[in-house]
């Protein structure tokens, strides 16, 4: 069984970490959550590992977010893009600003739209997205269409606001 988990870890660790980082914006939190996901997989090996691993990961993010709200602490959503030491070079600064805008735009989406988008970005097909999010397969296309449109619109709206403010 450990061998199987090892294989799963090798196969999905990077993808899970990327998806969780995109979802949380915090690399440390993402790494912690990945460890937790595999700990749970070790305790209860999944039948269909990929949707299972990602569904557990997204559930953990939601739980973590709720706990954070309860504890009254702020999630460091933008911390990773804004290192506190010396000011970054112009290129890095611009990149950090743009990624911050993307993250803000992503936060505008409903949790389901956001998660469908992130799973699609990890190469999930409609069936896997449906399993991971508990959707009907026929609803995945509509969900993705809405998510993409809202993401792009929200990003451009924020970009415009920022441009006007400066």
């Amino acid at each position: 069984m450990n061998q199987r988990i090892t294989e799963l870890y090798r196969e999905y660790h990077a993808s899970l970490l990327r998806m969780l980082y995109r979802r949380t914006g915090d690399p440390d939190q993402a790494e912690d959550l990945v460890q937790e996901v595999f700990a749970r997989a070790l305790a209860a090996p999944p039948e269909n590992p990929r949707p299972w691993l990602f569904a557990v990961a997204l559930n953990l993010v939601r739980d973590d977010g709720r706990r954070a709200v309860r504890q009254g602490r702020r999630l460091r959503l933008l911390g990773a893009e804004t290192p506190s030491a010396s000011p970054p070079p112009d290129h890095d600064l611009e990149h950090a600003e743009r990624t911050a805008l993307v993250r803000e735009a992503l936060d505008v989406l409903s949790p389901r739209d956001r998660e469908a988008l992130l799973l699609k970005a990890e190469g999930f097909d409609y069936e896997e997205i449906a399993i991971a999010l508990g959707l009907a397969k026929g609803a995945v296309g509509t969900t993705l269409a809405r998510a993409r449109r809202r993401l792009v619109e929200a990003y451009h709206a924020r970009e415009k606001e920022q441009h006007e403010a400066s």
């Binding site: 790494e31 290192p83 988008l117 970005a121 296309g141 509509t142």
Partner: protein
């Protein structure tokens, strides 16, 4: 056929339709400019959304640091080659010297022959050459540093003898501080968010903790014989210019056990510990200059934890000048590998705490420990 709905358009673009359905939609699109336009618009949104999400990549290695890391294997090969050449040179010089000395004895002229300081250690045999390349001994260190010093500026600064090396030689007879093996140290990976400059300190791996065997001998530490060799050999610091040498030797005090309170005082009032672990002991070493000759603001503290079977975990920490380029920025984590399964991870705890965790643990375990450092 009716107009396409949003789900069908997305399924088409995401290649989720079977070939029959796709053909049917293609036929419709050829006849329906409205739907064709909607598909094009959806395609544009899809591309833009994908590009936006792709911007949220987890922090990757800074290009400059990554370049340094890629350079490491070459540096390592260069170093090995240099050791090999030096070993051969030492062998030849000693052979000539011994021949001359032997000739003098045969002539009976009683001429005293003094060998050059650079070749005082025994020259390596071919077999010994290989082993020495893998793990340089004190004698080898001496030969290298005597020949190389004074070290050139720039990237070659990494080979300049530093106080930790002096400390290594001096502490060779102490049970606590085993000898590090720097020649085989390689940085294998890193996980960091932004880039440092001047990576010398970042790349200088910490000493390799040694495992205590049943006989109480630490494999990583020199044997008693080796200790004598080290004691009789020239210290690396003697290869430095006079003023610098005196300065280094003065500072290179052996690590001394202290209480936690004393260590806290040495670190200007704060110390980092591994949450949930009880330290075995705490050691303090005098203020260390770095390779560039700058002096850190305070002493270096090592908190030693048990790691089972006589092994140890070292948490080294020191205060550094926030204005000084130490090769790391807050958020950077540098991971390295030494001999014998010993790994280390170094990071900067803002604003001025430089921490290094060294243990015979795999990378993931080490990272887990790092998260427990408070």
């Amino acid at each position: 056929m009716r107009h396409l709905d949003e789900g069908q358009v997305q399924a088409l673009l995401d290649r989720e339709l079977d070939s029959g359905a796709e053909r049917e939609i293609d036929d419709h699109l050829r006849q329906c400019p409205t739907c064709a336009s909607r598909v094009e618009e959806a395609r544009r949104l899809l591309r833009e959304a994908d590009a936006l999400i792709a911007m949220l990549e987890p922090p990757g290695p800074h290009t400059r640091l990554a370049a340094e890391l890629q350079r490491q294997p070459r540096l390592f090969r260069d170093r090995v080659e240099r050791y090999r050449r030096l070993a051969w040179a030492a062998t030849i010089v000693l052979a000539v010297g011994l021949g001359y000395y032997g000739g003098s004895l045969r002539r009976g002229d009683g001429t005293a022959v003094s060998l050059p300081a650079t070749v005082q250690p025994s020259p390596p045999s071919a077999a010994a050459d290989r082993s020495r390349v893998a793990e340089p001994t004190s004698a080898e260190t001496k030969v290298t540093q005597t020949v190389e010093s004074p070290s050139p500026p720039g990237p070659e600064r990494a080979r300049e003898p530093s106080v930790p090396e002096v400390k290594r030689a001096q502490s060779a007879e102490q049970p606590v501080a085993p000898s590090p093996s720097r020649a085989n140290d390689q940085i294998t990976s890193l996980d960091q968010r932004s880039g440092p400059t001047g990576a010398e300190r970042a790349f200088a791996p910490p000493a390799e903790p040694a495992r205590t065997t049943n006989e109480g001998v630490r494999p990583g530490a020199p044997s008693a014989g080796a200790s004598r060799d080290i004691a009789s050999a020239r210290s690396p610091a003697t290869a430095l210019p006079g003023s610098r040498r005196a300065d280094l030797l003065k500072d290179a005090k052996a690590s001394e056990p202290v209480s936690l309170d004393e260590a806290v005082a040495q670190l200007d009032g704060t110390i980092r510990l591994i949450d949930g672990m009880r330290p075995l002991r705490v050691l303090v070493t005098a203020a260390l200059p770095d390779g560039s000759g700058n002096r850190h603001q305070s002493s270096s503290v090592r908190v030693v934890y048990p790691n089972g079977f006589g092994r140890e975990i070292w948490l080294d920490q020191e205060r550094v000048d926030a204005r000084q380029d130490i090769g790391l920025l807050p958020g950077d984590t540098l991971f390295g590998r030494a001999l014998g399964g010993v790994n280390w991870v170094r990071w900067l705890d803002p604003p001025t705490f430089l921490l290094t965790l060294t243990a015979q643990l795999d990378e993931d375990s080490l990272k887990a420990l790092v998260r427990r450092v408070r």
